[in-house]
Amino acid sequence: MSSVYDVAIIGAGVTGASIARRLSAYKLRVVLLEKECDVSFGVSKANSGIIHGGFHHGASTLKSRLEIQGNIMFDALQRDLHFPFRRCGILVAALSFEEMKTVEKLYMQGVQNGSIGIELCNRERMLSLEPKLNRDVVGGLHAPSGGIVEPYRLVFSLVESAVKNGVELKTKFKVNGVDITGERFHISSVNGETVTSRYAVNAAGLRADEISKLFKAEEFTISPRKGEEYLMDRNAAAFTSRVIFPVPSPNSKGMLVIPTVEGTTMVGPTAEEIEDKEDLATTGDNFEKVFYSARRLVPSVSERDIITAFVGLRPALEGNDFYIAISTKCPKLVQAAGIQSPGLTAAPAIGEYVKDLLKKAGLILEEKPNYDPAIDPLPRIREVDPFTAEKLIEKNPSYGNIVCRCESISEAEIVEAIKKGHTTLDGIKFYTRAQMGRCQGGFCTYKILKIIQRETGLSVDEITKRGAGSWEITGRVGEFQIFSRTGGKE
């Protein structure tokens, strides 16, 4: 048995994960390489979670074609993978007749693209579809095929499915060198590990340009475009039934009001060209911008409901289209770069598309007879009725131990997350939602620290928020010299 992989995929975001899962249906040895300690910890984590409706981009772009194809694939994908997804529909609200002209163009674009059920709406229809809209709305567009998804859960389940079908996942594998000998890529990491593969896929998100350089393939530049978003409590009055978009400007889809699939409300994102691929700082200046814009759409958006803010970086490429192609300089490498919005929507279609490109590049695809597209659904205590809950608790009492009170997450679900390899606080947060609610971990962090210790054998000072350097606890009481500067008499 040779230790050569057929395909190495670099990057375990939604793009890499979709490709890995698609390839797992074939008799191939596939390895998925991720620099972070868990999957979905980059661009895919801080994401609006919109399944787009296929009207924002013209039919000539690759991303528009993949968006429409990807959108259609979500129902089947959810049936197999059980991630939170709802086809709630998208509204674009025009607040002036000038804006309405743009909406009409979007509508025509949507029709051309084949957006299912897309319609133009007058004021009355807009307000009946969403009574929380600004009363000054003059009309708009309704794309019923649009929806919302929990992006990290989508990635987790894609990876779980891929791994179940034989894909190997290597986390903390930060690629820093590629040697090419004959028909082989030798991909090495900063930790000194090396994997060898016949084909490679560059799905490295913000670092796709650097990875391409390592393969001595095409030169291009990924420019991070920063987006700041604010998350509001699940009881927020501004929770709408559909995603609300403003009328877009030429550069940006604008800032939206998003009813997340888990019942919270999100507003944003901003769009700001920056240099630093690690600049994940919120600024405070954008706060006013986001809330002004969101309140223009839905006046009941209130800053009182904010529970957290975060930053996501879009891996934008010049020209703003996706760049998915066989490298001309390095013909066994497939590039999947510039996957920004609507990348999440397009991801399942990208998996398909890249699979076809690899075939074109010479990879032989033979279907696996025992390929199982489905993973087991995980019961979640807050989603089941009391009778089902009783049965779950009878079978496994830790379903009755509600660890995260804000989101009603049981100990059993946290243990399950740890067993699936999510051993950091953030990994557990994104897998289970524990710490993601209104108290942001104030009540449950200490409980989760204990569960991680018990399940993994790690000591408390080895537990991190999201990998090396992000430690939580520095020591135990009694370990430090006391120097309280409490003198006697002054």
Partner: protein, 121 residues
């Protein structure tokens, strides 16, 4: 000599005015109760504080379930003894069971102040 003090004997936090010529002649004003007077005098002469902390219990493994028992000094302790008391109590392991009020360390540094448990376990 004069000093402005804030009484810490209770949450009211009376603003005290301490004035004295020598250590035997201290006047305290501004206190609403006799405890303010006592506090003011002590603060001028030899400041004291109640110390609270937690100790490990014996037999608790250094694993995940370390059980700690809360403790306090049963009277305010002269400040200069505080750091060494903390060092001592952090290295103690209290055998269980323990009762609230049980003396865990008697006559700290010869001050007559004791360390007692504040919870039964």
């Amino acid at each position: 000599m004069e000093r402005q003090l804030i009484c810490i004997s209770c949450p009211i936090g009376c603003r005290l005015q301490a004035s004295w010529t020598d250590e035997t002649d201290i006047t305290i004003e501004g206190n609403q109760c006799p405890r303010g007077e006592i506090y003011g005098r002590e603060e001028v002469l030899a400041p004291k504080r109640v110390v609270t902390a937690t100790c490990m219990t014996a037999g608790s493994p250094m694993g995940t379930e370390v059980r700690r028992v809360s403790v306090k000094t049963d009277a305010p302790l002269p400040k200069e003894h505080i750091d060494s008391l903390l060092d001592t109590l952090y290295s103690m392991k209290i055998p269980l069971p323990v009762e609230t009020g049980q003396v865990l360390l008697a006559n700290i540094g010869g001050t007559g102040v004791n360390l007692v448990a504040t919870r039964s376990m």
